[in-house]
Structures are given as structure tokens and as C-alpha cells.
């Protein structure tokens, strides 16, 4: 690891209030330094320098994505990625193999990615895959919204708190994730929940109770990232009312609503589905909630979510092949290939809603770029979305190629264009802040030396798709959009300071598991490179 000096770049570092200043960046010992004894100087004159990208929500590792990969050889066949002298081979369609995932993120200047939905029972698998994703730092969120221990102790906050803490530690997870709370559990009996107040089939708990409990526990445990919530009624026409209710319920609290696009639908059926992004954005503006957009990208995708009843519905709608997996006492999940079509009124409206959210939520510190990879589209589409955000004309051109319903949203009337500084905010500064990763998403002294340097190009999508240079922990790993050196990042976990022991109730509950509680927690062997972030 040599010291570096990056000179003459135009720096965008929103966390440090730097918005397009010509500054030199010094790197020493893998960190941003005040002043480095630079042995190597990289002159990036005329280029844009940003902290490495931080993706807050991208399904990249674990049982679900791997089942998706296994399901879709037809998708891989068209996207082979040959090995090179420095990189491994793989496949790079919508469900890229682990190595290719790392390379592709790095080529775009991303250096941190969070896998957002891991069943704790399968966490070991997720970590195995994370360890095979090069180039980026990573972490994972632990699925809890349908955990039957929590559901059955929903009114015993202390027990839930102890359990959540133990579970996060056992899974070596980074945040609490809730997906269709109580709804996915109902799916174990072929049902779902509709509305925040509906009780489960087998348990006396409601989505509302689950969300408030987890959010409260999140607060008590002082976790670095707020509750990461995929709320109920996702994907359903008319679901915006539930979303508004959810936002109201969480008013004043910390929470992150993920891929919110899927929860902003008006209308009563697929025929009259409309955008309610305006009302939702207003409500978000008026709260402390953070969100990510969940943009859809036209083309073939593989949808996958722990919202198993929704996936059943999508299977019935599309007739495509369907995977469902119910995980004992914890959660479930489903996978369905899908094609978003420009001329489909629903898909066109979804496309518009994703952009409406990004453009109508005023504070870029509270709305982040995502495609819910691979659900809405591949993460490799981020540069295209950035262009849509920064270029009103391009937005209009794209809109004119879509089903007319997209134009009946408020998108055609929005004149806002993102600045480079705001792009830096929604793709790194704000996401790092939301994750509580103090050494990420900025270029201040002491930060991890994860740096993305982009060529200033007319075509913004091209600019962001191939970074000129990427520096990961002080090492130059990407040159002209190509991987020049393979490097493995670390995994983020939580540091609860004191030892975490399960409540006797939890030991008792393990009779409903088929794995011994002693064999359940993920061993540190699965985190060969890690950083434990302190809670509190």
C-alpha cells in the first residue's frame, strides 16, 4: 500500500460541505490523510472526485439471490464474463456471480454495498458469498419482521430487545430488516396481511405492532442504521394509503423505508393504477424518515423478496416460473422473473414514480438511489438513473417513449435537475450517514481511502458507468473502468460492547428449529476481514 496524492480534481464531498472545489486528496495507510508523503501522484485534472459509492440496498449475496442465479441459466447464457489476468470469470446478467458483482460495482466507483435481506438461519451462507465479492466493503441486514419468536413475544419489549441483539450478533448482521411484517409469516399458511391493523393467522400480532416494536428496539439498541423497512401491501394498487399511514405512524421516529416506489400506488386495479408519489413525498418531507427509491428499469429482471405472498401474486400475474422458500420460524421468500415493458401502463407508471420520489423529496440526505437490485433492475443501471436525475431533457425524451400513463404523473412538470453535489449525496454521503458508517461516504481526514474519480463527460451516464480511477482502502484498483487489481474488502458487523447471551426463552424456542442453538451463530471464521461498528 503506497501513499498517494490525488491532485487537481474537482471534489464533491457533501458530508464535508465540499461542492465542486478543486482540492488535492492525500492518502496514507489506506486512509485519507492531512498530508501524505506521496510517493505516487495521480493528476486528475478536469476529473470529478467523490468518495466511493455506498449502496444501501442491493441483493448481492445469500440464499435468495443464489436461488435466483440457479433458476436462470437462460439469463446467464447471454452475459458471460471471461476471466482476465487479474479477475475471475463469471456471469454478468441481472444476477451476476459474486466476483462479477464486485468488479461491476468497483468499475462504477462503488466501494461499499449492503445486502439487505438475510434470513438469520442462512446468514452463514450470505457471509460465504460476501467473502467472494471482491472490491467492496459489505454488510448485511437481518430479516426479523416475521420472526415467530418476536411475533410471539411482541408485547415483551425487553425480551425482544435481548433477542434482536443476540440475533444480530448471531447472524453477524448490521441492521434490522423487516419485510412485509407479519404478512410473510401469514404466507406460511397461504395468507397475507392487508392493512397495518390486521392480525396474523396464527399469532396475535399486527404489522403495526411489529413495526413499532422493531423501531423501538432499534432505538434502544442505538443501532447505527435505523429500522430498514419494506412495508406491507407492496406492489398493490391503492397501497399509498397504507404507506401514508405507515409514515404517520413513524412520524418523528427514525426509520428507513426501502424501495418506496413500490408503495406509492393509487387506483384500485392494474387498469387504473396511478402515481401517488406526490402525497408520499410530501409526507416524507414532513418527517425524519429516510427512503430509497427502488427505480424500475425496462427489460428482463428477476424479482426476489422476502415478501413471499407478493411473489406468489406476481407469479399468478406473470405466469413465469416461481420459487418460494419458507424458512422455519423466521421468514420466507420468493423469486419470479419479470419483464418491465415501456409500453405497459403499470410499468411505465412505476418508472415515473421512482423518479418522482427522487425529485420531489426535497432533502437529498433522506432519499437514496436504488433499483432494489435485482428487483427493479440491475445496479449497473445507476448511471442511467443519475442521468435521468441530472438531465431534464433526457427525462422528457425517455418519457416520450413510454406508455402515456407515465405522463399523467407529475414527472413531466418537474424541472428539478440534480447537481453533482446532490448526486454525491444520494449515492454516498447520505447513504453512509444513514448507515452510521463514519469512515465511509466522505473524504475527510481519517476516512477510509475509498475514492471514485470520474471523467467529466457530456454524457452523464457514461461518466458514471466507468470511473477513471477507483481507490479502495488506499489501493488503486480500477483504471479507465477496468479492474487493474483485485482486492477484497471487509464486512461490517456490530459491536455491542458487552457479551450477548440469549434469554432462556430463546433457548426454549430453539426446539422449533432444526439446528442446534450452539451451531446457530455465525462463527468469526466467516468474517476474515471485518470492522465492528460500535452501537450507541
Amino acid at each position: 500500500m503506497e501513499d498517494l496524492k490525488i491532485v487537481n480534481g474537482i471534489v464533491y464531498d457533501p458530508l464535508n460541505g465540499i461542492d465542486g472545489e478543486r482540492l488535492d486528496i492525500h492518502v496514507s495507510g489506506g486512509k485519507i490523510a492531512e498530508r501524505a508523503k506521496a510517493q505516487r501522484v495521480i493528476d486528475v485534472k478536469g476529473m470529478v472526485v467523490m468518495p466511493g459509492g455506498v449502496d444501501i440496498h442491493s441483493h448481492i449475496a445469500g440464499p435468495k439471490i443464489n436461488m435466483g442465479r440457479r433458476l436462470r441459466p437462460e439469463n446467464h447464457r447471454t452475459a458471460p464474463v471471461p476471466k482476465t489476468d487479474v479477475t475471475r470469470a463469471g456471469v454478468g446478467g441481472g444476477l451476476s456471480s459474486t466476483f462479477v458483482t464486485g468488479y461491476r460495482y468497483a468499475a462504477m466507483g462503488y466501494t461499499t454495498v449492503m445486502e439487505p435481506a438475510v434470513p438469520p438461519l442462512m446468514a452463514r451462507h450470505a457471509h460465504e458469498e460476501l467473502n467472494d465479492i471482491p472490491m467492496v466493503d459489505k454488510g448485511c441486514y437481518v430479516l426479523m419482521g416475521n420472526n415467530e419468536y418476536i411475533i410471539s413475544h411482541i408485547h415483551e419489549l425487553n425480551k425482544v430487545e435481548n433477542y434482536v441483539k443476540w440475533l444480530l450478533n448471531a447472524a453477524k448482521g448490521y441492521a434490522i430488516k423487516a419485510v412485509n411484517p407479519c404478512g410473510s409469516d401469514n404466507w406460511k399458511w397461504g395468507e397475507n396481511v392487508h392493512g397495518l391493523g390486521e392480525k396474523g393467522v396464527k399469532f396475535d400480532a399486527t404489522p403495526k405492532e411489529m413495526i413499532t416494536t422493531l423501531s423501538e428496539v432499534n432505538k434502544r439498541l442505538k443501532l447505527p442504521h435505523p429500522l430498514h423497512l419494506h412495508t406491507i401491501d407492496l406492489g398493490v394498487p391503492g397501497n399509498y394509503e397504507t404507506t401514508l399511514e405507515t409514515l404517520e405512524m413513524l412520524k418523528g421516529k427514525r426509520a428507513h423505508l426501502t424501495h418506496l416506489q413500490f408503495n406509492c400506488y393509487g387506483g384500485s386495479s392494474w387498469k387504473d393504477l396511478s402515481s401517488e408519489a406526490g402525497g408520499i413525498a410530501e409526507k416524507v418531507n414532513d418527517s425524519k424518515i429516510t427512503v430509497d427509491s427502488g427505480q424500475v428499469i425496462f427489460g428482463d429482471v428477476t424479482t426476489m423478496t422476502a415478501d413471499a405472498p407478493w411473489q406468489y401474486r406476481l407469479y399468478r400475474l406473470s405466469g413465469n416460473k416461481w420459487v418460494n422458500n419458507d424458512v422455519e420460524v423466521e421468514c420466507g421468500g420468493g423469486i419470479v422473473p419479470y419483464r418491465y415493458r415501456k409500453k405497459n401502463s403499470v410499468n411505465a407508471t412505476q418508472w415515473a414514480i421512482g423518479l418522482e420520489l427522487l425529485l420531489m423529496i426535497e432533502d437529498p440526505w433522506r432519499v437514496y438511489l436504488s433499483t432494489d437490485n435485482p428487483n427493479g433492475g440491475s445496479f449497473t443501471s445507476y448511471p442511467y438513473i443519475i442521468k435521468l436525475l441530472m438531465d431534464k431533457k433526457f427525462r422528457k425524451e425517455e418519457l416520450s417513449t413510454l406508455h402515456q400513463n407515465a405522463s399523467s404523473t407529475s414527472l413531466p412538470d418537474i424541472d428539478r435537475e440534480y447537481t453533482l453535489g446532490e448526486i454525491a449525496t444520494i449515492t454516498r454521503g447520505a447513504t453512509a450517514k444513514s448507515l452510521g458508517l463514519k469512515n465511509k461516504g466522505h473524504l475527510g481526514v481519517g476516512a477510509d481511502a475509498d475514492i471514485a474519480i470520474y471523467p467529466l463527460k457530456e454524457d452523464i451516464a457514461k461518466m458514471f458507468s466507468k470511473a477513471s480511477y477507483v481507490i479502495k482502502d488506499g489501493d488503486l484498483v480500477v483504471g479507465k473502468g477496468k479492474i487493474i487489481s483485485e482486492k477484497y474488502g471487509k464486512t461490517f458487523m456490530l459491536d455491542f460492547k458487552e457479551k450477548v447471551e440469549p434469554d432462556p426463552d430463546v433457548r426454549e424456542f430453539f426446539k422449533y428449529y432444526t439446528v442446534d442453538i450452539e451451531n446457530y451463530p455465525v462463527e468469526m471464521a466467516y468474517l476474515p476481514r471485518y470492522e465492528a461498528i460500535k452501537c450507541g
Binding site: 441459466p73 447464457r77 463469471g90 406460511k188 416461481w322 422458500n325 419458507d326
Partner: protein
């Protein structure tokens, strides 16, 4: 010395509640183990492999060097086996195949490969074993005989245990066996439907038609089965090689997957393959996350290509397309059709395995290793995909599969850089 919560590295059940007493680096007693498992643990030192080149005992380093020499010169090598080792070894094996531009396949292709093809066609409505324990009131074993092949499956997961919503255990569950012959499992069943050999596909198709409400002329027992499946609260169909390796193969699986999928319009139903080797599922997993494909993968073009029937072990060997075979933790000579396995003695075959086997008998190089799950740690994936960490309970004088593969990979790379 007593080891608790030991994971059994034998079958796809991957039971993790074993207790072992170890003395002088030998297991002297077991608790909670099934008969197969006990016999394995108590006879670990029988038939251990020795480092051999051309049948002559030598040092392990020499064997590894010899293997590197052979494999580096290959025009099209095959890496095969991997069902009975841990996932780090599997990862390294993929890296080696990629590095060599060869093919890699696991024993999946001769047991549940058809299952994978079925899933790729139809999708799969499945669950973990604990979901069956907690919820199932109906279990259907189709072409599988758990009593003999997965002895603790019925008592740990699928039939007798009392789960969260199955407080009555066995009493609250119906067990149905569909098979071509009576088995120890069928004797335990509440209903046994005996099919004529080779008619599984017809039976499954008929059930699908019945469940759709179509009228067809069929055995009344199947009609009753259709009704039972439709009316249960949570059903599970557990199928074995009786389905995947009988007439129709992947199409039988397609029909079973479709049947279970269709049943979900009426109730909740899940399907699970009863996978044999303890980490054959892991091989699928690792191959898939590294290459996109679960088995039968070729790297000759520098990127992975998928080809069951093309890059799968039986096909590559019987068409004599490979010139070197590296066999890891598997015994193809005893398990493959003669046409395929006989070719292994015609080419340079290298075996990496803790034990002697029919394959090591014909191999040019034998590299003994520390047995995963006994003398080496690592991950194994249960038949339902649940990952469990294997324990190390005994010491071995030999390196693990993973360590040997690392040496080979490094050796090949070093050899190349010397050449260039």
C-alpha cells in the same frame, strides 16, 4: 474427550446434535447418531488412503507436485466430485477448473441434477426442514426411502417431531409413500401407493389434472391422494432418486414441481429433494454463486458455460473428451456407468480423498487428505440449503482438501509464470 453438537458429515440431513467421545484420536462412542453415522464414526481409520504415484507409496508433497505437473499439461481436464467436502474446497476447485480451462461437475449430475433442471424450468416451491416439522400435517415421500437413506429424517424433521403448530407429532401427521416397491419407509406409511415402475410421470401428471378439476380415468387411489393433498393444511412432498433417476428423470421432477406449485392455489404445499451426500447441496451453491451455474460447467472459453448432458461427468467420460480427471472426495468408479468410469483408467486420473476407493485403485496419483467434518472445519449445506459449520474432532496427518487444492492452484500459477 467429549464433543457435543457435532455435525454429521454423512447424508444430506446434516444432523447437528451428535455427541462423540474421542480417545487417542479415535471416536470410541457416539450419541444421537443413526446406524449409518455410528458405523462411519467408529470406522474412520479403516481404508485410509495413502499418498501414491502409479501405485507406489510416496510423500504427499511429491503427489501434489505430480498432480500439478499432469494437470498443467492437460488439454481439457475434468474436476469432479466435491459432494463430500466442505465449501472452501469447493470454491478452490472452481478456481482450479477456471484456471485450467477445464470442466467441473459435482455428483449432483448423477443424483439430483434432474432436480436442478426441473427447478430451472418450473421454479420450486420449497421450505426448510424445520417448516415441515413445525407445520406439516401431510408428508408424501415419493421415490424416496428415508428409513434406509436418511435414517433420522423422519424423527428429526418430517414425521414424528412436535413442532410449533404440530403439537401432536406423528399423531397429527399423515405419511404417504409413493414408490415402485415396498420399503422400510412404506411400512411406516398411513398410505402406500405402489406404482408400476417407470410410471411416476403419468401418476404426477394425473394428479395435476385432478387437482385442476379435470376428470380423468385413473387409479382411485391416486384420486384419493389428490384429495388428501388438496385438503391438508400444510403438505410436503419429499422426493428421492426413485423419481430423479427413473424413466423421465428431469421431466418427473418438472411434474412434481408443477404439482406442488399448483397445489398452492388450494393450500400450502412444499417440495424438497432428499439429497444424499452431506454437502452435494453445497457444491450446487458454491458453483452457482461463483459461476451462475450449479453443475456441469465448462471453462474452456475462459468463461463459464452450462451443459448438463454436455459438460457433465458421464457425458465427458463416455465421449472420451477429457484427457485428465481430478477426482475430489468422490468415488466415480463405483458410482458411474461402466462406459464412463472405465475411461478413468485410460487417462491420467488424480484422486484427492481421505479414503481408499475403487477410483483411488485405478488412479495415477492419490493424494490423501484430512476428512472434512471430522478432521477439517468448513461449511456444509443441508439438503434444504441450511448452512452448518462442520467441526474438527480428530487430527489428521494430512492437509485438508482445501489446502491441497490451494497448493495445486498455486502450483499451476507458478508453473505458468515460470513458462512465460
Amino acid at each position: 474427550m467429549k464433543f457435543e453438537h457435532v455435525v454429521c458429515p454423512l447424508c444430506g440431513c446434516l444432523c447437528d446434535d451428535l455427541e462423540l467421545i474421542v480417545e487417542r484420536n479415535e471416536v470410541i462412542s457416539t450419541k444421537n447418531a443413526c446406524a449409518l453415522s455410528r458405523s462411519m464414526f467408529l470406522n474412520l481409520n479403516a481404508d485410509l488412503a495413502k499418498p501414491l504415484i502409479e501405485g507406489k507409496e510416496t510423500g504427499i508433497e511429491a503427489c501434489v507436485d505430480k498432480a500439478i505437473g499432469i494437470i498443467s499439461k492437460a488439454d481439457y481436464p475434468l474436476v469432479y466430485g466435491l459432494a463430500s467436502t466442505e465449501s472452501n474446497a469447493q470454491r478452490k476447485a472452481v478456481e482450479l477448473a477456471e484456471l485450467l480451462g477445464g470442466a467441473i461437475d459435482s455428483t449432483s449430475s448423477i443424483c439430483h441434477g434432474p432436480t436442478v433442471l426441473g427447478v430451472q424450468m418450473m421454479g420450486e416451491v420449497t421450505c426448510t426442514l424445520g417448516t415441515i416439522m413445525n407445520q406439516a400435517d401431510l408428508v408424501v415421500f415419493w421415490g424416496s426411502n428415508p428409513v434406509d437413506a436418511h435414517p433420522r429424517h423422519l424423527t428429526r424433521y418430517s414425521l414424528t417431531p412436535r413442532g410449533l403448530f404440530t403439537p401432536r407429532g406423528r399423531k397429527g401427521r399423515r405419511m404417504i409413500v409413493v414408490d415402485v416397491r415396498e420399503t422400510k419407509s412404506s411400512k411406516l406409511a398411513d398410505r402406500f401407493i405402489q406404482l408400476k415402475p417407470g410410471t411416476d410421470f403419468e401418476a404426477l401428471s394425473s394428479l395435476r389434472a385432478l387437482i385442476k378439476g379435470e376428470k380423468i380415468d385413473i387409479d382411485p387411489e391416486l384420486k384419493e391422494l389428490a384429495e388428501e393433498m388438496k385438503s391438508c393444511e400444510f403438505g410436503a412432498l419429499l422426493f428421492g432418486q426413485g423419481l430423479t433417476m427413473s424413466n423421465g428423470k428431469n421431466m418427473n421432477v418438472n411434474a412434481a414441481l408443477a404439482l406442488v406449485r399448483d397445489l398452492n392455489q388450494h393450500t400450502k404445499f412444499a417440495i424438497l429433494p432428499m439429497r444424499g451426500h452431506y454437502n452435494v447441496t453445497g457444491a450446487d451453491m458454491v458453483f452457482t454463486w461463483q459461476t451462475g451455474y450449479p453443475f456441469a460447467i465448462d471453462f474452456s472459453l475462459g468463461y463459464p458455460r452450462y451443459g448438463p448432458g454436455e459438460f457433465s461427468v458421464v457425458d465427458l467420460l463416455s465421449r472420451k473428451e477429457v484427457d485428465v480427471a481430478l477426482i475430489i472426495a468422490s468415488d466415480p468408479v463405483s458410482s458411474l456407468p461402466a462406459q464412463a468410469s472405465s475411461y478413468l483408467s485410460e487417462i491420467d486420473t488424480i484422486v484427492i480423498d481421505p479414503n481408499r476407493s475403487m477410483t483411488s485403485e485405478i488412479a495415477r496419483v492419490v493424494i490423501p487428505t484430512a476428512r472434512a467434518g471430522i478432521s477439517a472445519e468448513g461449511t456444509a449445506y443441508r439438503m434444504d440449503g441450511v448452512p452448518i459449520r462442520l467441526k474438527k474432532v480428530l487430527k489428521s496427518p494430512y492437509p485438508s482438501d482445501y489446502e491441497v487444492l490451494c497448493k495445486i492452484v498455486n502450483g499451476v500459477i507458478d508453473g505458468r509464470s515460470k513458462d512465460s
